[in-house]
């Protein structure tokens, strides 16, 4: 066995994805609003935010499943629209992918190498077994969990340099979710690729991500290294006046009350002075979890979040 300790090598010819001023409207609804992002190849990104934030729309625009209203998308420097060579380097299985009525799992698997020259049948076989998928069943007839599992098989075995996973855990039981996360990491380790994974199970998936992107109402409100994001706020809990004194002029991005006790998510890092003051006033300090932070950004006044949190 070989042991490498450096990060996996960059995939050949992968330059990443550049998104500039991307907007998408559905009638009156602005699903994406001036989104700009630079996504490096060979990195695992988490895409989080409340329902309706634009996560799926962003992925669908990247893969040209739907057409953008405005802006620029460049995958490896090229426009993906009507560009089969570029689109062949991406994979995005939609949550309610419309499979042909007659197609069974094994028939779809057999067709995959013609779409993806990088297709790895061994990976597909292993995942089919681990998820215990019935290969003679028609894809349309699969349960919610089986559909997710099958989407994971297709997405990971394709070995596409740009792999988009849209809430890949839907309907999976906890055991199958562990299999999913293990296989995402295994696939990534074997053949490094960019993985953009949307999720609501933030704390469960946080350890997989290198960077997290938070979408809210069609805008990017944060893009940061996961560790940096975690340390960008902390939670203070105690009597209201004590907590407010401790927060001082710093911004409280979320607050919950339990009688006279409040729990406040404060932007910034806790300092030794905070710890001293907290000990004196019976205030407890805890790091914000990524889930706390995203929830706080979500209910926070959007313009404030844009002003303070946007790093992209």
């Amino acid at each position: 066995m070989t042991h490498t300790h450096t990060l996996p090598p960059r995939a050949a010819n992968a330059a990443g994805i550049r998104i500039e001023g991307l907007s998408k409207t559905f009638g009156e609804v602005q699903a994406l609003n001036d989104v700009s992002l630079d996504l490096a190849p060979d990195r695992i990104y988490g895409l989080v935010g409340p329902n309706g934030a634009g996560k799926t729309t962003l992925m669908a625009c990247l893969c040209n499943h739907i057409f953008k209203t405005a802006g620029v998308i460049a995958i490896d420097g090229a426009n993906p629209a009507e560009n089969a060579a570029v689109l062949g380097r991406t994979i995005f299985i939609h949550e309610d992918q419309a499979y042909n009525d007659a197609y069974t799992i094994d028939r779809i698997l057999a067709a995959m190498p013609s779409f993806y020259p990088t297709w790895d049948a061994e990976t597909a076989q292993r995942l089919i077994e681990r998820f215990q998928l019935p290969i003679k069943r028609r894809a349309r007839k699969l349960s919610r969990g089986q559909k997710s599992a099958f989407a994971a098989v297709l997405s990971l075995a394709a070995r596409a340099p740009y792999t988009l996973l849209d809430e890949p855990y839907l309907g999976l039981d906890p055991t199958a979710r562990v299999v999913l996360y293990e296989e995402v990491l295994r696939a990534y380790s074997e053949v490094p690729r960019m993985i953009l994974m949307s999720t609501h199970l933030i704390d469960e998936a946080a350890d997989l991500m290198e960077e997290v992107i938070v979408l809210h109402a069609g805008r990017v409100v944060m893009k940061a290294d996961v560790d940096e994001a975690r340390s960008s706020a902390f939670v203070a809990r105690g009597l209201g006046e004590d907590v407010r004194r401790l927060a001082g002029s710093r911004e409280i991005i979320a607050e919950h009350a339990l009688g006279r006790i409040i729990s406040a998510t404060i932007r910034g890092r806790a300092t030794p002075e905070d710890e001293r003051l907290a000990a004196e006033t019976r205030v407890s300090l805890e790091p914000a979890s990524l889930q706390d932070l995203v929830a706080a950004l979500g209910i926070h006044d959007l313009t404030e979040a844009l002003k303070n949190g946007s790093q992209s």
């Binding site: 042991h3 490498t4 300790h5 450096t6 990060l7 996996p8 990195r43 695992i44 562990v178 996360y181 293990e182 990491l185 295994r186 990534y188 380790s189 350890d207 997989l208 991500m209 290198e210 996961v226 560790d227 975690r230 340390s231 902390f234 806790a270 905070d274 710890e275 907290a278 000990a279 019976r282 407890s284 300090l285 805890e286 790091p287 979890s289």
Partner: protein, 123 residues
């Protein structure tokens, strides 16, 4: 009461866990440590995070890189880890112990008594 830093970055946690294994003798000096990919798969974490943990241990001299072979436990790593942990013992263990004792109204003498009389088999 939780102190800040009770939940530290994953790579710091992982580096400490590897250090624990070296201190405990599970990873002996001059033996190879698991690769980033092996650590990532085992702990189900991003390989870049695992890499940061290993680099942290290289920076502190606990691990050494051998070109083309991988990372190994440095000679003397166990001893130097033990010294570092000795130095941190007062801050990391004694301070929170005394803080909790103060909240409960226990004197330093009472705490010392508790330590002396704490059942031997549980020490």
């Amino acid at each position: 009461m939780d102190v800040i830093g009770a939940e530290r970055p994953i790579f710091v946690e992982l580096a400490d866990r590897i250090a624990d294994d070296i201190l405990g003798g599970l990873l002996e000096e001059d033996t190879q440590v698991p690769s980033t990919n092996e650590l990532a798969a085992f702990y189900r974490i991003n390989p870049a995070t695992a890499g940061k943990a290993l680099n942290r241990l290289v920076d502190s001299g606990v691990l050494i890189k051998r070109r083309g072979l991988g990372m190994f436990v440095a000679p003397g790593a166990q001893q130097s880890l033990r010294q570092a942990r000795h130095a941190a013992f007062a801050d990391e263990y004694v301070r929170p112990l005394l803080e909790e004792a103060r909240r409960l109204g226990l004197t330093a003498d009472q705490v010392t008594d508790l330590i002396h009389h704490y059942p031997q088999e549980q020490k």
